[in-house]
Each structure stands twice: as C-alpha cells, then as structure tokens.
Symmetry: C2
C-alpha cells in the first residue's frame, strides 16, 4: 500500500521498465504479447517500454521461429553484451570468479586456490582472479556491478564482514578492500553471505523457481542458511538473519567455533561428519572420500552418514515448524548427507507439525556448486534491473 502512496508517472514508468527488463533477464527471449500477458500492462505501454530498453541497447527484437503459415512474430531478447557484472564466490579454500552478461550468459570464468597466508594475501588472490575475468569484458559492454559471496555474517550496507570463523575473520572491511582493488564498474561492490546468494539463485534460476518460501542450506566447511520467505529474502534488523548453523539443537553437545555449545553445525558440519566417522584426525579427507568409503561398505562411514542424517533431519524440523517452507534446497556436503541417508532425514521430518510438514519438499541443489556464484551475479545486476535508465546513464557519465 505505502509504496503506491504519492506514486508519480515517472516512478510508475521506472517500475514498469524494471518489470519488463527483469522478466527478460530471468525468463529469456519472449514475444511482446507474452510480456503483455505476464505483466498485465497494455500493448502500447509494452511497445513503448521495449523501445526504450532497445534504445539503451539492453534488449533487441528479432524474428521468431516461423511456425505454420502466419506472420512470424517478433521476439524480444536481452542483449548479453550490453551490461555485464563480475561475480565472485569467495570460499575457504578457493575463489571462483565469473563475468556474466544480462540474461545470464557467462563470458568468462576462472578459479584460484588460496594459499596459506594472511588476509592481504587472500585479497591479492581474489583481486588477481577478478582481473583475469574482467579482461574478457566484451567491447561496448557496460560493467554495472560486482557481487561477492562470502561464508560469514555480513553487514550488507557497506560489506563489512562481521564474523567469518572459517576464514578466521572478525570485522574485515571486505567491501572497502575490494572497492579499492577491483571495483564495481559503474555500480557498487556488494558483499553478501554466501547462503543468502545461494537461496536467491535457487529461487531465480534453480530448484525452487515457483516457491515463495525457500530455504537454501549450504555446507562448505560450516553450515550457512539463506532464507527466502513469503516471496523475498529474510533480512532481519541488521541483515544478519539466516544463521541456521547456530541453532542450538544439543545444548549439552560439542563446542562450536562460535563459542556456544551444541550448535547444529557441530553435528552436521564437515567436522561433525568426520568425527562421527572416526576420521577427525585424518588429513585432507573430503566428503567425496567418505561417500566412496561408505559405498564400498565401510561400516563407520555408513553409520556416520546415518547418525548425521538424523541430526540434519532434526534441524530441518525446527526450520519447517518455524518458517513453513515449500522448498528446502540442500547444497554442498549437506546434499551428500541427504543422498546417503534419505530415510533418516525423512523419518526425523515426520516429527514436524503435520500442517507444515505436508507442504514441504526437500531436494538437492540443481545449481550444484554454482549457487553462490549465480546469486552473486544476480545481486550485482540489481541496480540495472531496478532502474535501467538511471543505471545506464550513470554508467555513461562515469
């Protein structure tokens, strides 16, 4: 309601341009009449909006496939090389970078392992891999923003990483550091929690496109949660919501790196899984190694997946009862735990309240390891999608 109060013609037009561009960016090429049907706008308004976006170079029209004998209809499509973003997935052991065009086309992609070193070494590595993909910006393209996913609690306003235990970071001004060393083109450098980007990606382009309430749970070393509730990201008072790994599900249990006892992460995080398998002291063992061992009949590995499967299910019950989601998407090693012990997870889920339990579907991420990277690109596109004219003008001016 409030958003309509005092809306001017200009605001309405900006919102309509945004609606049309977002639709093309997300759903790809489509006819004007399809745009008319989906947006509820009338035909002449859609024609005018498409023309305005074409003048900016963001979309173009081409003849559609000729089916039957009728006149071929025009198809509107986003122009990938018109506006591009830099997407970064900064993980504990490596950083993945991609240069992504409007509509989702990937122009370049690179990875770089992190070496042991301090924070400035890591920032130098992130900077280097960024410049590697930025060298591939197509001629004539506007670089409109940079999005970065990081495994930690982030103050989104300026990109201060408040707490990233697996990186050993407290209050690191990652936004400012990357603004200085990499930049955001004509836009900003936006730092976000990795799982928050994961849920955005799963909702926009992944397993949960039709769900208005989606939980994405990513397991890398720790366990992060991105919550998309009632059609939008759950943010909270300071933007710190979604720390599912730190639900205390076993208050007399193990001490977590956050200092509390019995956080969910102590049971279902990588360390918890290895401990359950009696392999907490084995060096360089991966989840894949443990899956292989279990498949080959190793009793301790199998038992570990089953007992950790129970704990995965117990925490999911809490989230189902609290948030009543349609989809829970499991990424990283949580996806492996679910694959190895689906019955244990399902059996714990039976203890959720029936009304909420009946509506939820649990699945593994379709985007696999790329959910955070895809989400980083999407958040970087926000400015141009929200206000195409304003963003492109500031890009020309800069």
């Amino acid at each position: 309601m409030t958003s309509l109060a005092g809306a001017t013609q200009d605001e309405v037009r900006r919102a309509n341009l945004s609606t049309v561009l977002r639709l093309l960016h997300q759903d790809g090429p489509q006819t004007r009449s399809h745009i008319t049907a989906v947006t509820g706008l009338n035909r002449s308004t859609v024609g005018d909006l498409v023309s305005a976006l074409a003048v900016l170079g963001l979309v173009r029209e081409r003849s559609g496939d000729i089916r039957g004998v009728g006149r071929p209809s025009l198809v509107v499509e986003p122009v990938p090389g018109s506006a591009v973003v830099l997407a970064l997935d900064l993980r504990v052991e490596r950083t993945v970078a991609a240069l992504v065009g409007l509509g989702g086309q990937v122009f370049a992609r690179a990875e770089r392992q992190h070496h042991d070193g301090d924070q400035s070494t890591l920032i130098a590595e992130v900077t280097q891999v960024s410049h590697e993909v930025l060298a591939e910006i197509p001629p004539g393209a506007s670089w409109v923003g940079t999005g970065v996913g990081v495994p930690g609690v982030v103050r989104t306003r300026d990109g201060l990483v408040r707490f990233a235990p697996n990186l050993g970071w407290t209050d690191v001004p990652l936004g400012d550091l990357l603004r200085a060393s990499v930049g955001g083109g004509s836009g900003d450098v936006l730092i976000r929690n990795d799982a928050d980007l994961g849920v955005l990606a799963e909702h926009m382009r992944g397993s949960a496109r039709d769900s208005s309430t989606v939980l994405y749970l990513g397991g890398d070393v720790g366990v992060g949660g991105g919550l998309f509730v009632d059609g939008r990201p759950l943010v909270g008072a300071g933007g710190y919501g979604g720390e599912v790994g730190h639900m205390r599900v076993r208050p007399d249990g193990h001490t977590c790196r956050c200092g509390a006892r019995g956080c969910w992460e102590t049971e279902i995080g990588l360390a918890g899984l290895l401990r359950a398998a009696g392999r907490e002291h084995v060096r360089d063992i991966s989840v894949t190694d443990l899956v292989t061992a279990a498949r080959e009949g190793d009793a301790a590995a199998r038992a570990a997946f089953e007992s950790v499967g129970d704990w995965l299910g117990i925490g999911l019950v809490n989230l189902v009862n609290l948030l009543n989601p349609q989809s829970i998407v499991l990424g990283g090693h949580l996806s492996a735990i679910y694959a190895m012990a689906p019955d244990r997870v399902a059996s714990q889920l039976q203890t959720a309240l029936p009304a909420a339990r009946e509506l939820v579907e649990v699945c593994s991420s379709h985007l696999g390891g790329d959910a955070t990277l895809v989400g980083a690109a999407e958040v970087a596109f926000t400015t141009v999608l929200d206000d195409p004219v304003g963003a492109l003008n500031s890009s020309v001016a800069s």
Copy 2:
C-alpha cells in the same frame, strides 16, 4: 516493484484513502499538515481524501487546541462509532470478547469461563459471550468484521484449525462454525493463531511500534510465537509459520504433546515449569502461585525459574541467530519466567552471534494479557482499512 505495474488512478486513490485512514486509526487525531508530512502526499490531495472519508462518516474534523494566538488548526480524527469489530480471544480456559471501534475505542468487553464439555459446548459459550458484546453496537455503526485468536495452527484462508493440542482439536472448522453462529457483520470471520495476533498488536499498539522485526512469544498453556519480519508478518507457504514452541532444542528430552521429543515447549511451557519445580502433580496451581512461592523463599520454585530461564534463553538464541530481530516481546507466563530469572536468560543470550545479539532487546508485553484481543480487533479492521469505500458500500448493501 510489481505492485506498481499497471497501477490505475482508481488503485492509487484507493491506496491513498487506505494510507490516511490507517494513519488516523493507528496514531489517533492529527492535523492535515501532519498527515501531509507523514504520507508525502500534497495538501490538496490530503484535503480531498479527508473529505471523502468524512462523507463516509469514518472521520471528522474539529478545532484543535488553541495554542498561542494563531488561528486554531483543524484536527482530523477517526469516528469510533462509525465502524466497529468483534474481537475474540479464545483460550484454553476462557474466552474474552470485545467490541472495538475505529481508532481502538472499546465499547464493550465480556469474559466467559469454559466448562468441561465437548467442542459444541465451547462454541455455544463463545457464541453467547459474542452476542453479549454485540448487543452494545452503537446506533448507526457498521459492524465490519470479526477477528478471533486461537491457540493452534490455523489455515487462515477459511479458518480451519488444523491442530490445537491444548484444546484437543484437530481439523476443527472454527471459521465456518462461527460464521454460522456469530457472523462478521458486513465483513468476514477471520481466525488466526493467537501469537500471530499478539505480534500484530505489539507492533501496532504495543512494545515494538518502531521495530520492523519483532518476535512475540506468548505462553498460556503451550508456547506460541508470532513473527513479524522485515516489516510484515511471517506467513510461510500455508500460513503455518511461527511454531516456535516446537523447535527441538533437546532431542533426548521429554515427549511433547505434538509427538516429537525435546520441543522447546516441553521445557518452558507451563507443564515444564511445574515439573522443574516438582509440582507437576499439584492441582490448579498457577504461575502466580509459583512466583509467590519463589519470592517467599521456596528453593524448589526458585531453582525451577532459574533452570527454565536457561531453556528460555537457549531457544531465544536460536531465534536471534535465525531471524535477527530488534524486539522480542514475552507474554503470558514467559514474561514471569523472564522477570524471575533475567540473568539466566541474559547469560544464555550471550551465546548468540555478536552481530545479531547486539541489536536485540528483550522485554515483557506492555499489552499484558490483551495482546491477542487487540490483534484480533486489528485483523478484523483490515478490510475497511484496506478499502474504506468498498467496505462501507458493501456494508450498506448488505
């Protein structure tokens, strides 16, 4: 964004009428210039909107207090006797009914204890207390809706109570039953979870008016949660979100009435508190009795408040980490636990992640036992506040 797409003049006017009426309903009498400042609408638009609402009888203008020598300014105020709602707080042991006018004035209030009996006995008691307050509808007033709070999981679409363990209900069509026996005037009978109404009330008229993320935790017999996140109620896929009492915080603990083990409610619900005090077999003991005993030095009662205070804090940590609220408002017996063991609650809260912990304030409900009743009135006013012209016209037509 989407809400603006294709907005017509009529829609904008309806939204503006709604904005102005909601402001007067919630904040009380104020000058036109104050309305202009708060809404961002221009003066002539505000004048026109106020006149339209005055023609409907919903607001009126009167001379304000004369301060100094200037011309007294006109004050716009809601007319309490123009539109009224029936509000019901259906609890385990009794029902409270109120007849509430626009702006929040209470015209009548009545309570009725429930006797042992089946569901139809209880519905008859609720019907009787409703008719008692409906007899007090002022002449000329339109009865525009009925709101009902109930301690259970509710399908809001039609008011089916899916699960209310403390009433012994499963799939009771409370909405249909009360539509037949009581009605909603020109509006509907809206059934809601009691804590969902509690958080609405605390956000609109209580302890958390300025918070965009508020958790209301009500303790009657069980423990219910109403979550208001990022400026609006958390709903979830089926409207069943917010069942905080069924977070499993001690999976090897006591069996809950929902069937699961170790739900938060088993530790901090009334039964858990009495068990901790060694009084689970004492008949008709109340929380007030236990508070009195503890204040008079009863060691078991004191220890019970302290250990249950720990459990209260542990569950709050989960909610703080997940939802990053500004305010947590405790109602019912949870408020008593907090009052008796504030240090234990605070000490557990220290284990929440610092970024989220720093922002949260825990307090007791200012509305006391009336939070659900106030929320029930507010939800019943929704139709007239969303579309004053449409709602009043349908009231005249019916």
